[in-house]
């Protein structure tokens, strides 16, 4: 630890105070608030918390101090899951279905996003899944599209960050990581190949839109080529 000797008592007291406060908190505590309570700067508080977290880990405690959803909180150590799970059994929320997860991924990366936009990407109606996600607190309405129709726009919640153990949305792995590689694109293109039947095949490359836009490309403005087309 880097404190000057003079600093030591202050730091020791600050650590204790953080431990004491986090023990009675029932949601992640903003470092700003901690800083205010113990009268240290926010960066200092963050530094202390990081040191404390590392300390608990080194001491092989059964709990961890994590930064999640913008604040700090105590949690059981993941390795203690077998014991803790037997204990908190009823508190366990059911896992999300694959459909719900994919919808959640779209909301997470495209927020704010409307139901219709999500349905266009998923290719199926998402009303039911969206309701499930909202009921379980993963997503919420965060506004309305200023355009005509004023579609409700959805985004992820604080609870979403907590459930995924993320400090902020910036911690989501970049979507670019998931864009299919050239091999996949090629395989798909091959699978959907159209053999030109026009007399002048040379003109085709111009008229056919170039490579697919990829996942960030324009969403089909007409919505899903669904029953309503």
């Amino acid at each position: 630890m880097s404190e000057l000797p003079d600093d030591a008592p202050v730091v020791a007291e600050a650590r204790r105070a953080i431990e004491g406060v986090l023990m009675v908190a029932d949601e992640p505590v903003d470092p700003q608030l901690l800083a205010q309570l113990i009268e240290l700067s926010v960066p200092r508080v963050e530094e202390l918390c990081a040191e404390m977290a590392a300390g608990y880990e080194a001491e092989e405690r059964g709990f961890v101090l994590v930064r999640v959803a913008g604040g700090y909180r105590f949690q059981s150590h993941p390795e203690m899951a077998p014991y803790v799970e037997r204990f908190v059994l009823d508190g366990q929320a059911a896992r999300l279905s694959a459909a719900a997860l994919e919808t959640l991924a779209i909301v997470a990366y495209k927020q704010p996003v409307s139901r219709a936009q999500i349905a266009a990407i998923r290719g199926v109606s998402v009303d039911g899944v969206m309701r499930t996600l909202q009921q379980r607190g993963y997503i919420d309405e965060i506004g309305r599209d200023p355009g005509p129709g004023q579609a409700v726009l959805f985004g992820t919640t604080q609870h979403f960050l907590e459930r995924l153990g993320l400090d902020s949305l910036a911690d989501l792995p970049p979507l670019g990581d998931f864009v299919p590689g050239a091999d996949v694109v090629e395989a798909l293109e091959h699978g959907l190949r159209i053999e030109a039947t026009l007399p002048d095949t040379a003109s085709l490359p111009d008229t056919a839109p170039p490579a697919p836009e990829g996942p960030d490309g324009p969403v089909d403005p007409e919505g899903p080529t669904g029953p309503d087309t």
């Binding site: 023990m23 803790v84 290719g123 085709l204 029953p227």
Partner: protein, 261 residues
């Protein structure tokens, strides 16, 4: 919840198509149409077991229809018969389908990672014990600013019925045609003709949706064993053969109502 119709493998039509192309390495032009239709039928059947979601079923069929269309063009290289605009439209359709497949794949992979994040985070449980009794009196009054009216509203909110999971069909609503109606038409028509090609059966239909509904109706009859489907030649026309007797009892078709929201 119907949308949670999750087959273990496929979450929707894009999924199945992705699977067919990527995992099975299928070249849609080298595989017989029946193989693809079979795959879709199997999926539909599985969905049926779990409570059919018309939405998804329709989407499956739409994609199937698009594929059939793509294939049909390929198989009928009658240059004189193909108009330039149609050809270009086909390309556009293909590229749209392609980009949607890519987008679908992207979020599928992203979802996988989110799921892993959640599973990891789920092994750690937060402390939620909250305030100890000795501090209870200290906290400001929690009812500060709460009016009796708000309390009443909260009661109304709490006792409002929770949404009941069910098949969402309202958005398919403006359809003037239902699968049940189409089935009835077919049951009326098929015994008279005995055997007919799907193309002929739908030649009078203008809208794609009508064709899809017709197709769905044919599949329903197939499922009920009232028709046989045959594709005499690879890539050929689908032939529908009536198997039922002349005056089929319509009551037996009650089951189709499932489709009909």
């Amino acid at each position: 919840m119907t949308v949670a119709v999750q087959t273990e493998v496929f979450e929707g039509p894009f999924d199945l198509l992705l699977h067919l192309i990527l995992r099975e390495q299928v070249d849609l032009y080298e595989v017989s149409l029946s193989a693809i239709v079979d795959a879709y039928l199997v999926e539909l059947e599985r969905m049926g077991d779990l409570g059919l979601d018309l939405d998804m079923a329709t989407e499956f069929l739409l994609i199937a229809a698009t594929l059939v269309e793509l294939k049909a063009r390929r198989l009928l290289p009658d240059e004189s018969g193909i108009d330039l605009d149609e050809e270009l439209a086909l390309w556009e359709e293909r590229d749209l389908l392609l980009s949607r497949l890519l987008e679908c794949k992207t979020f599928k992979d992203a979802a996988q990672v989110l799921s892993e994040l959640e599973a990891d985070a789920g092994r750690s449980h937060p402390r939620t014990a909250g305030l100890e009794d000795r501090f209870a009196d200290l906290a400001p009054d929690l009812l500060e600013g709460v009016t009796p009216q708000q309390l009443r509203d909260a009661f109304v909110r709490a006792t409002a019925p929770k949404p009941v999971p069910r098949v969402e069909m309202d958005h398919v609503a403006p359809i003037r045609l239902s699968v049940a109606d189409a089935v009835e038409e077919l049951v009326d028509e098929l015994p008279r003709v005995g055997r007919i090609g799907f193309r002929a059966l739908t030649s009078s239909l203008v809208e794609r949706l009508e064709v899809v509904v017709r197709f769905l109706a044919v599949l329903e009859l197939f499922k009920q064993g009232l028709v046989d489907l045959d594709q005499p030649t690879t890539f050929g026309e689908i032939e529908i053969v009536w198997l039922g007797d002349e005056a089929h009892d319509h009551a037996d078709l009650a089951a189709i109502d499932v489709y009909d929201g």
